[in-house]
């Protein structure tokens, strides 16, 4: 599912270098223009949500797409970072300390997750990450003296780096955009580095990689840590965006939403998760405005995508369009693979 996806989208995104580069440049300019062009705060906020979830999806994709390890516990990592920030701010610490402590805590928990989950691969990896994610959720939900249980923790202020206030929606969007771009570039460098290539090797041919002298476990561990770092960054942004966190942010549905972003956009592609995040956030907000059954929709979309477009919406749409074009030209359908 993952390896077949990489071919079609990378040819779309990287194919003719100039077209791809121009498209990316236009997209970035459009993202920069959002706060100046869009007048309604509501849409600026949605754009901020898209970007912060895109960072989450980028992180998850490192594992799901490039390492071939599907995690259903990432909302736990997301939540650890968020809760530590909220807790420390509520206890009266400064923003800088809270953010650094949250990153450190999330990295420690990620290392624990990785050490346990990487004892397995494939389906068992899913089960273990799911169970671990549920532990974190259980702690957030039941350890009331620390986390305030279902009532959550509120955050009253946003930081003001270099004297720039993030209190307004536009200010916050700007900061999120900068962090998103840094995360995207980091992910791109990571994926294209020799380490990223080795990671794909451990996904496709772990035994051969082992025979070639690569330390498969260590490579996967490194990928898990990087994935956890991006997830933690997204979690911190989430807390500042909502100025609130509750166990809901850590539930299995949150992990599943992240996974949906990755596989709907196309796993193992750099930009797929970003597109997926935009899709899920927009659909969620639009659907929530009309019907209250978001969870049902989430489940139905999941099933539909897995059954009909397992390689993701973007590569899937490209494949369908191509085969339609070919069959139109040749007058007969392409044989199914």
């Amino acid at each position: 599912m993952t390896s077949s996806a990489s071919g079609s989208v990378s040819s779309v995104v990287n194919g003719p270098v100039t077209v791809g580069r121009i498209a990316i440049a236009v997209a970035i300019l459009a993202l920069i223009a959002v706060p100046f062009v869009v007048s309604e705060i509501y849409y600026v906020n949605i754009a901020s949500q898209v970007l912060l979830y895109a960072i989450f999806a980028l992180g998850l994709n490192v594992l799901v797409g490039y390492a071939g390890l599907v995690s259903l516990g990432h909302a736990g990592l997301f939540g650890v970072a968020g809760y530590v920030v909220a807790y420390l701010l509520a206890a009266g610490y400064g923003h800088g300390f809270a953010i650094l402590a949250a990153l450190a805590a999330a990295m420690v928990v990620t290392a624990g997750f990785a050490a346990l989950a990487l004892r397995a691969t494939g389906i068992s990896f899913i089960m273990i990450t799911l169970a671990l994610g549920e532990i974190i959720w259980g702690l957030a939900y039941r350890w009331i003296s620390l986390t305030n249980g279902d009532n959550g923790i509120s955050v009253t202020t946003r930081p003001a780096p270099f004297g720039l206030s993030l209190a307004s929606a536009r200010g916050f969007y700007g900061a999120t955009l900068v962090i998103f771009l840094v995360a995207l570039i980091a992910a791109a460098i990571f994926v294209r580095s020799p380490f990223g290539a080795a990671l794909c090797g451990t996904r496709d041919q772990p035994r051969r990689m082992n025979a070639l002298g690569y330390h498969v476990w260590m490579i996967r561990f490194g990928a898990f840590m990087f994935s956890g770092l991006l997830t933690a960054v997204a979690g911190i942004l989430f807390v500042y965006y909502n100025e609130f966190i509750s166990p809901q942010a850590l539930a299995l549905t949150a992990s599943a939403e992240g996974l949906l972003m990755v596989i709907s956009g196309g796993a193992a592609t750099l930009l797929g998760p970003v597109v997926g995040a935009a899709l899920v956030v927009i659909v969620k907000n639009v659907v929530s405005a009309y019907i209250t059954r978001w969870n049902f929709m989430l489940g139905a979309i999941f099933v539909a995508i897995v059954v009909f477009m397992p390689e993701g919406l973007v590569p899937g749409a490209v494949r369908l369009a191509r085969s339609a074009w070919r069959s139109g030209r040749q007058g007969k359908p392409e044989p199914r693979p």
Binding site: L72, G138, L139, W143
Partner: protein, 290 residues
């Protein structure tokens, strides 16, 4: 003293319920190599369907046990149908199958919320079992004793079915070596449907039986699924004995944890899982490494 005895009875009862839930989960995992993430939903759905049969909302009122049995059968049919219509299309793609079960679990949870509302529904204990029994100087709630006996009977029946019948032999063959089983003429894909239906049915039945103890509420599915996961990781996949021992262990840890350290009960529950993963990844009684 009574406190500890009662806690022990509650632990064994909960373990029995968990066994009914996780035996099917474990068999499905052993045979089809996928964790069925709808298993918690099946538990919850069984309980909701049972309460409706019990309440007389359909124009008739059933006996508690009949309601539990019918709810179990309904859920079994649903499970078999899901295997036929959805999972069969994705044969051989385990990851896709897991994701489909995840998607269906969200849909079931939301449909239950739509159908039965957000308030917990309490299930009345069957009138004949509301009393207590006295034994060895202590008092035991009758219904909990009954649940323990039901779990034991089901465990024996399942064991006999797996160990002594032709169907059981075919299932064991499918668990051990699906390719070889196919070669000698066992229709493994048919077994998938049977085992999936059986597992779902057991979960639904357990949901209704557990109703008087746990009551039924939105989120019950997500409370039970991780417990089934832990039981199977502890006991090993595809092993009936493993499910049984794992269920009792988890039942004890969960109940004692909730009584003594309520805030950390959920956390403590996962410690044995972590230990098993580190020391014995195939589970206590599992043959294959997880």
């Amino acid at each position: 003293m009574t406190f500890w005895v009662l806690l022990t009875v509650n632990s064994v009862t909960f373990g029995g319920l968990l066994f009914l839930l996780s035996a099917g989960f474990s068999l499905i995992f052993g045979l089809m190599r996928i964790p069925n993430l709808t298993h918690g939903s099946m538990f919850m759905l069984g309980a909701y369907l049972g309460t409706t049969l019990l309440s007389g909302a359909l124009g008739f009122t059933l006996n508690f046990w009949l309601a539990a049995l019918i709810a179990g059968l309904e859920v079994a049919a649903l499970g078999a149908l899901m295997e036929r219509l959805l999972l069969r299309r994705l044969a051989g793609q385990q990851l896709a199958q897991v994701l489909v079960t995840l998607g269906v679990s969200f849909m079931v949870a939301d449909l239950c919320l739509m159908g039965w509302g957000g308030d917990p529904v309490s299930v009345a204990t069957p009138p004949s079992l509301t009393g207590f029994v006295r034994a060895a100087g202590a008092v035991f709630p009758l219904y909990r004793v009954a649940v323990i006996m039901i779990a034991v009977v089901f465990a024996l029946a399942l064991w006999l079915m797996l160990d002594r019948t032709r169907l059981g032999a075919m299932i064991r063959a499918g668990v051990d070596d699906p390719q070889m089983a196919r070669v000698v003429g066992i229709r493994v894909s048919q077994l998938f449907t049977i085992v999936f239906g059986l597992g779902a049915g057991l979960a639904g039945f357990a949901g209704m039986i557990g109703g008087p103890i746990l009551s039924v509420y939105p989120g019950l599915d997500q409370d039970m699924l991780p417990l089934a996961l832990v039981v199977v990781i502890l006991g090993g996949t595809g092993s009936l004995l493993g499910s049984f021992v794992g269920s009792i262990i988890v039942g004890f840890i969960y109940n004692f944890g909730q009584a003594l350290l309520p805030e950390l009960a959920y956390f403590i529950l996962f410690l044995p899982m972590v230990l098993v993963l580190v020391l014995r990844p195939q589970g206590l009684f599992g043959g294959q490494v997880l």
